[in-house]
Symmetry: C2
DNA sequence: CGGAATTAGGATAAACTGCTCCGCAAAGAG
DNA sequence: CTCTTTGCGGAGCAGTTTATCCTAATTCCG
């Protein structure tokens, strides 16, 4: 209804990383498996999140992805600026190229306040907050309880 | 941000027809030219709106499209049921296949009320209302003031 | 009837999004 | 140094959406 699959994967991945021990790189493979999304595609998205300065990446053994310093404070609007491109929040509901308060489409005045609410929500939700919500166990990040990954994580943690 | 181009064209076209004299068929060509959208593509959309029982179509000379009786009362949610398919309002923001109050993604509780507002707005806006808003001149339906179509409409009206 | 205008419907092209694959570069371990 | 593991980057495939084109079928008019 609102977000592209790319954005959905990106947000999920970022939240997942934010739930993991800080400063310890998380593998793309781990993330993909945990979220149950295509690894090769997720890899591309991870790249763009690195270019968007939200993540650090490390190659080779003990490689993976970490949040950049302070990135836990990133809100979803900032994430979407990377994945949907800027101007994602600008478009007219009816698709008009120009639709301002002055020259408005017939939905404009009614739509504006809702849009504001959407944007406010996206701005208010930070990775930190969302990660915490997941960690408390109240909310889920993936469709299926993933029983495969847990041992992999343990391997890493005991290594 | 929310609607496909197809839906945007469909809504615009329906509003436009609703602003035209009732019972007098409007040509696809006229609509496309007025809205500045690709005529051949619009024709396909018009077909689906006919199949969705919102429009009558007439072939041959003096052909074109009319709103069905009572179709001015159609709200945008009904239009979207045709153009976006049913279940358009069901999806989880983060793309989870299952995301109910019981098993929710971390955005779920915050998103739900906004979604409700969006749906309420779509349900509240009827073609009638929107057409009136355009007719009063307060709102625009197309990007550019279309100077080409006016004479064509006159031809039809004086014929 | 014959011709012009108009929608119906099918085939197809073009563009975009989601997704895969492969070879390369980097980095740690032996 | 070599091998393995990991991300990087480019090419390309697949499905969907957007858009075009062409051939009917229908309807009006002369």
């Amino acid at each position: 209804m609102i977000l592209s699959r790319t954005s959905q994967y990106a947000i999920q991945a970022l939240i997942f990383i934010a739930t993991q021990p800080k400063g310890q790189p998380v593998l793309n493979r781990q993330i993909a498996s945990h979220l149950n999304v295509p690894p090769a595609y997720l890899a591309k998205i991870m790249q763009s999140l690195c270019k968007g300065n939200l993540l650090y990446s490390f190659r080779g053994r003990l490689g993976g992805f970490c949040l950049r310093e302070g990135a836990e404070k990133t809100d979803l609007l900032q994430v979407l600026a990377i994945t949907e491109g800027p101007g994602f929040a600008q478009d007219c509901v009816l698709g008009l190229k120009v639709c301002s308060d002055a020259t408005a489409c017939p939905m404009h005045t009614k739509w504006q306040p809702i849009k504001k609410k959407v944007l406010a929500l996206l701005k208010e939700q930070t990775l930190e907050k969302l990660a915490r919500a997941v960690q408390t166990g109240k909310y889920r990040l993936a469709d299926l309880p993933n029983t495969v990954l847990a041992p992999q994580r343990l391997e890493r943690e005991t290594a």
